[in-house]
Amino acid sequence: MTPDDFMTVAAARALRDGVTLFVGIGLPSTAANLARRTHAPNMVLIYESGCIGSKPSTLPLSIGDGELAVTADSVVSVPEIFNYWLQPGRIEVGFLGAAQIDRYANINTTVIGGDYDKPKVRLPGAGGAPEIASLCGEVIVIVRQNARTFREKVDFVTSVGYGSGPGSREKLGLPGRGPIKVITDLGVLEPDPETCELTMTQLHEGVDIEQAREATGWELKVADELATTDPPSDEELAALRDLLDTQKAAAA
């Protein structure tokens, strides 16, 4: 069992059955499909490629795999998925990854180091993330926790979490609630209800808080009562293995 397994299972558990979910590719997709195969069979998966209500039997490699279209309730154009579906706040949960994240859950997926025109590392960029972050009912972020990703200040704000703290989202007029959970390979962080600062509220089994502190580029706040993630159950692990096998099988 790897830290990534913990992360994926914890993310899957964070999804309630029946919710409408905007799914990005990679770990969010794995977690969403795991949830659908375990406790949340009625979750509605929505992809930026225009697929609404996809029920993939294999784990897609991209957000536009054919499997997502042929199993969808409806396939709409890309302008429509953003304008008619994401923009009005119809989608309850958005699932995002990050290359860098700060204490207010602002996310960078654009550039690292140097300046914008001549960065040290050019990342893929925004994709659907800025609007997912601002317009979904709430957001769950999945990101590995280490000194490169958890930064005092992100090099570029691609997607807004809580901006510069309390009141920022309201001032910007962002309708969604923002990131309610950041799920990592070490545990789970949640925004403090008053300061909006990400606070470690849960550690995966076998992780101690010092590890989390070292993996965080700012002075990490820790909840008074720190929970421990229940380890993935046999059922969850089996479902996860099955799911990953479907991707391998589809690739073969």
């Binding site: 697929c51 054919g66 042929v70 923009q87 654009t110 001549k118 590392v121 800025p130 317009l135 570029f156």
Partner: protein
């Protein structure tokens, strides 16, 4: 009426040095064959436009066709970085690359505005991010009824729109289905358009989820079987995920990339009808059938 041309004639006719060219297809129906022909004809100074640059733009950028990139997400989906894109941005190799960077929502709206002959579109987007500071085609706008602040993006009206579709009839009416992305908008927003298709048929039988672009909206149609490979054409062949993974080591290394270019694009292989597709033809599922959406 759309002209039916060979891919070589079609590219020579509609794509010129210095043009702005949108190549669309959201994961599905990416017009690889047309891009390869553009590379083969050594077009230069292009402004290339696409929501998801993908491997197709990694190749165009690496081949030195591109001066400027207009985009919203530049990765190899499910695999990682686009190394030729990164090499151009980070190291100016083979040439400096100007960027105009948006989000998907913004790019989709820019195409829709272009298709509608409006100079801009309005959305709830970009607010609080660092993008508007870097991108002059994003500006604030106020609702004349409520005073609410929203975001405007300027329209996209490329010189050329290039897409791949499943099929066309002999008049040049084009039919595509599955994930349709912003392909209709791309053709309608562009001054000229080139549609590559899997095949020409006598009649376009209606299919669930299919859209039709009438022949009088299309400049030319060229047959390019497997012309979307390694992406896919629903009903014809599946996405070649392995080819996307195989691209990573080629693109990581300038020399390997150059070799790929010489062999697969400029060389003998590139002159075979399916070009780059050839080597992987056997691994794909030729029996995908004309699948209708199922629920």
């Amino acid at each position: 009426m759309a002209e039916l041309l060979s891919l070589q004639e079609a590219v020579a006719s509609v794509v010129h040095d210095g043009d702005s060219v949108a190549f669309e297809g959201f994961t599905h129906l990416i017009p690889f064959a047309a891009a390869h022909e553009v590379m083969r004809q050594r077009r230069r100074d292009l402004t290339v436009i696409r929501l998801t640059p993908d491997v197709i733009f990694d190749q165009l950028i690496g081949a030195g066709c591109v001066r400027k990139l207009v985009f919203s997400w530049g990765g190899n989906p499910g695999v990682g970085s686009l190394h030729r894109f990164r090499d151009a941005v980070e190291n100016d190799w083979p040439a400096p690359l100007e960027l105009e960077e948006h989000s998907h929502a913004g790019m989709a709206n820019r195409f829709a505005a272009g298709a509608s002959n409006l100079p801009f579109a309005v959305l709830r987007g970009y607010t609080g991010t660092d993008l508007p500071e870097r991108t002059p085609s994003i500006k604030p706008i106020e609702c004349p009824f409520t005073g609410e602040k929203l975001t405007a993006v300027s329209a996209l009206n490329p010189d050329v729109g290039v897409i791949h579709a499943q099929r066309a009839d002999r008049e040049g009416n084009v039919q595509l289905w599955g994930i349709v992305g912003v392909q209709k908008e791309t053709v309608l927003a562009s001054t000229r358009s080139l549609v590559t298709v899997e095949e020409i048929v006598d009649e376009l039988e209606p299919l669930p989820g299919a859209i039709v672009l009438p022949h009088w909206t299309v400049t030319c149609v060229a047959v390019a079987p497997r012309g979307a490979h390694p992406s896919y054409a629903q009903g014809y062949y599946d996405r070649d995920n392995e080819a996307y993974r195989a691209w990573d080591p080629i693109a990581r290394d300038r020399e390997k990339f150059q070799q790929w270019l010489d062999e697969e694009i400029y060389g003998e292989a590139g002159r075979s009808p399916a070009g780059y597709a050839r080597q992987d033809a056997e691994s794909s599922n030729q029996n995908a059938g004309l699948e209708a959406p199922r629920r």
